[in-house]
Symmetry: C2
Amino acid sequence: MVSTEPKKDLRVVGTRPVRPDGVDKVTGLARYGADVKLPGLLFGRMKRSPHPHARILRIDTSKAEALPGVMAVVTNADFPRPPDGIVNLGELSVNGNFLLDNVMASNKALYRGHAIAAVAATDIHTAEDALDLIEVEYEALEPVLDIREAMQRGAPILHSGMTTEELPAGVKGDGPETNIARHVELSKGDVAAGFREAEVVVEREFTTGMYHQGYIEPHNGTALWKKDGQVFIWASTQGQYEVRDSVALLCGIPPSRVCVEPVEIGGGFGGKTVVYMEPVAALLAKKSGRPVKMIMTRQEVFEGTGPTSGTQIRAKIGAMRDGTIRAMHAELAFEAGAYPGSPFTAGAMCAFGAYDCENIYVEGWDVVLNKPKVAAYRAPGAPAAAYAVESVMDELAERLGMDPMELRLKNAATEGTRRVDGATFGPIGAIDTLKAVQDSDHYRSELTEPWQGRGMALGFWFNVGFESSAYANVNVDGTVSLVLGSADIGGSRASIAMQFAETMGIPYEDVKPLVVNTDSVGFTAVTGGSRTAYAGGWAAYEAAKDVQRQLEARAASIWECEPEAVHYDADGVIRGPQDKQFTFKEIVAELPHTGGMLQGRADVATDTHGPAFAVHLVDVEVDPETGKVEILRYTAAQDVGKAVHPSYVEGQIQGGASQGIGMALTEEYVFDDSGTMRNSSLLDYRMATALDLPMLDTILVEVANPGHPYGVRGVGEVPIVPPLAAVANAIYAATGARVTRLPATPSRLLEQLLDEGLTS
Amino acid sequence: MVSTEPKKDLRVVGTRPVRPDGVDKVTGLARYGADVKLPGLLFGRMKRSPHPHARILRIDTSKAEALPGVMAVVTNADFPRPPDGIVNLGELSVNGNFLLDNVMASNKALYRGHAIAAVAATDIHTAEDALDLIEVEYEALEPVLDIREAMQRGAPILHSGMTTEELPAGVKGDGPETNIARHVELSKGDVAAGFREAEVVVEREFTTGMYHQGYIEPHNGTALWKKDGQVFIWASTQGQYEVRDSVALLCGIPPSRVCVEPVEIGGGFGGKTVVYMEPVAALLAKKSGRPVKMIMTRQEVFEGTGPTSGTQIRAKIGAMRDGTIRAMHAELAFEAGAYPGSPFTAGAMCAFGAYDCENIYVEGWDVVLNKPKVAAYRAPGAPAAAYAVESVMDELAERLGMDPMELRLKNAATEGTRRVDGATFGPIGAIDTLKAVQDSDHYRSELTEPWQGRGMALGFWFNVGFESSAYANVNVDGTVSLVLGSADIGGSRASIAMQFAETMGIPYEDVKPLVVNTDSVGFTAVTGGSRTAYAGGWAAYEAAKDVQRQLEARAASIWECEPEAVHYDADGVIRGPQDKQFTFKEIVAELPHTGGMLQGRADVATDTHGPAFAVHLVDVEVDPETGKVEILRYTAAQDVGKAVHPSYVEGQIQGGASQGIGMALTEEYVFDDSGTMRNSSLLDYRMATALDLPMLDTILVEVANPGHPYGVRGVGEVPIVPPLAAVANAIYAATGARVTRLPATPSRLLEQLLDEGLTS
């Protein structure tokens, strides 16, 4: 559709300008959800279930409603019932009943922290007092918190009527009902024949914990429900249109009646793509006739929002003695939390996505259990899958007596490789990225001390496309305000403005990007799937082209020549007959007196996103007395297509890697037997911080995405895919212990080292 | 350019739907300037000159700056000096130095209330206290407050270096300097020959007072000057782009560095087209590093903002015995206030604009004097001119023994009449409107009581075009949000949305109009000149056509046919081959899965606006003991082109008429000898209220403007043109006194009746 080679002479794309929102953020002007203030604003609070599994027999809100200062109370019964089945609304494709019941429980509470009712009051203390006055009569039910138990027949069942024939091996018991919500099978070739051929086979099972995205800013939402039925929502979200459509669905009104203003977002990482507070605030606002603001506490964030799935994954790879892989098989069981919807399909797609193998079979299960409903988290499903597969690859290399790098180079996917999901790769950078690491100083260095080890892993993420809009408003002084519909979670204002400036041949500083509410610009899909710099940049490119066409026509009318004789060149100069020319600023200065200013618009539905590959190399040192793992050195290489703003790309890589290191070593939800999370604060939920990590080195590999004007491919997600495996492989190299359960916390690793006689 | 006949089968245009901003306004949600609240907001106040004319010898702000709570003080010296001469910037074409010096005086204070300095403090009381601590040393100069005196040689001179050769007759004295800023001459034919031919000649001189627009909401402005140099302004304005460009000019920064958010406006009537507080708030914000809000008191509104010009006008008309007018001559002297810029040219254009006469000569002078600089006020300049001309027409009819209606019908302009400014009328409604009044029940009724009288007058206003933008965002549920750049001062959200809905063939309720800030939509000229429903509607029409073209292409791709085989029809149905069709909602439902949503954009620079005519008929009763005039009955007929929303059109007519009645009878600035306004409150400045008036009847005459898709011509201004003359003529009919000075207050009229022996 567009140039298949990136331009060689880019002026703006590839530079590192100042971010347009930076000053607002460091001076405190940027407006976050908590900063929203409105006349008559009420404060909303949620009452949440103390039980991980319980039938709700009765909710009596009368005492709460009678408390002075309480202006409205809502429960699930106040929401209209969504249509049954999957609802398609804008970009939404959801089971409306599950969405609603997760926002506020109907007949059953399915996890501790599940919202039961909400109160809006004139101040937050009154709202909290009112929560205590809401009487809820529960019938406590036996919870199921372990994915293995949840899959068994006879386990406590969360949703009546859920049945499946596609059970994993080893499921025992009977009864038609199950907690397995969905099943997926992906295959190519003949995997059984492949394993028969294979000379070396390695198979192992792995478990990962439940990890939260750990964004700094808690979820929040403020709603104003006007008397004419128009609803205005301020939301900290990655997808204001998704919030719009979700609120509309749950409140039973058309999407156009809801306008969502995306306030600044203090981190999302996938977790801010679903609604929690927004529809409740809307209904409280409707009932009270006043605006309502709700902000979660940190404990609510942990207990009431979506982390990523805990997983149990079995991976099996068979190879010839020369290292040629003949068969790959994986079984993935993913925790969905209380309602179906884990990223098990994405995990299945990514498990072997980095490899070129004729025979692949992947099977996955989406399993409900009494934990918070999971949400997207950066490359959802892929880190756990890569952990299993890349650990087995490491073991396979050892069994083959091959260098792990060589094994991967021999089998890595290349252009033309057909994936297990049916897609065929175009130009991709798996091998280039492996070689970039192989050529690195880090790779060539040696580790000499005992208890030190090096690990590597290869990660794949497919990236997505979807729809983006842009509206470019040419200003009289020869600048452009660029109106966007993408929430800016990590620098998209800058990266999209840069692509616009590049296309127009004007300075980056002359483009002012704006993120506006859902009424004010065209539909734009969620900021996620590593799509925004890619698809948003494309929309900006097309909007610039629309401006250029109009400027050419204007120049033709000024020069009194045919439009075909005029061309807007990449250097920002319009050229016409007889060496006539205008710079952009010159022609803009003519606009007011030759027909007025002009604007460009674009709405693109993109599907030529390029997949991304990452190779991470890590050195660790394990303390044999405590089991504590220290990261000594870390290098992350990645095929970034074209790094629009290299500093942001490096930041994405470092951020993804550090989150992955946290998953590998320190983070996870810890539940007690009663189903209560025991570490629901950022003090106890131990993410890797700058103090825990060395500088993370990055290597940017640019294999242009031919499906984008500037060769851009998504960069934000794949850096979280390899770290779990890379760290586990490094621990093995340092200790001889093959870690099959993450996080490898000090106590857990020490126990394994002691069990396996590797330390004493 | 477009259909020359209005469509006959309009579904939306011409109906009376609910206004989209109505609920917000009646429930208090609408945000006006006073409602703007920001963290760290400071409050600004102005120090103003107590002298109408003084040299400023010294300003010492040090004591004010030292007052705790004062965060910034600015004077004229803090502003960069604008470039000399006329600056063209966006729609601005102004003398930057005059603009700046009116915002804040430089070396001289030129009227009482002239801003001298401003303070921003943490609360408004501290700011006011600080004003008293600013020491200003003045050298008081003799003021000139009367336009006759101001034009004389030897009068106190406001601006050194101002000279002209084009002095009115009767100017005495000597010296090269003058207060006459500009002069204009318009002529056609041979007016001297015309008067020689004429068998009856009437000549008379008239004076009008200085009238304020009387908007309910005082001027205000809030500014935020960010650390990165971006400036954000909240303004109650008719033209957010004009505010943007003015603030940029006065602060010495590019327009794109300023973003103006138009908050709701509590009345403007032309007076909110210039900046007063906004640049000062901006500079205070820059100096203090915090946002600053400024709101005028009512006294400041009267003393520190622009009313319309007081005028002195001589009109002379000569006719044949059969009523054929042979010559028309007028001399107009307009008070500009302290800086040049009265609407004297518009007055000159409009004086005889309603008539078809071969020989016309009009001369005008723009005169500065020590009163506030005038601003636009509804049909600027035309009401005073029409007062003079229509009074003379009334007297001429009497002298000819002709019915005033017949005299006007005989001489009214028609299609093809060439105006004195050179333009030639297209289809116009002067005669239709006269006949509509002639056919009215009011006209046919009789007055029988003594001291009652009937007057009529014909008014003309040329209307303007200019540039408007629109951006139409199609929503997934088959509605459209319509993004506009026009401040909505009187229903333009509704009238533009109606034209969009009409064009798209969809319900009005499915269009959601939005007024956004200057960064977020294309340049749109000021809401004034009766241009907004006309040009904004046209932009909406073109944006709808842009949507339709894209929908046709999409339908063609769905139907797999040529785009030429698909047509979007006026009923909102897209039709293709083999009777295939989609309603608008049906095709929109297909968009998400066939290439994404779409938007339309338009930026039109219009020049086919249709001129407007109004005929007002009024019955009065004069109390011979007090001189008080009571309005008994009032009928206003107007050629409205096509009444988009008839209720709004009627409201515009009633509003204009009632303002004109106030000018005729009760309102004016009253100055004492020291140059102090003595009635600077809405209690003492007596506008006509609902209690003073009967129901004002309206007659809508629709002579389509062939230069607009729906025949729209501006309606907002011309209704203020005839009332002054109509009331004066009615007073003459009731009393026999020819009123040559307005307002005809009871005391003034009683004095005239006594002087002329008409009462005792």
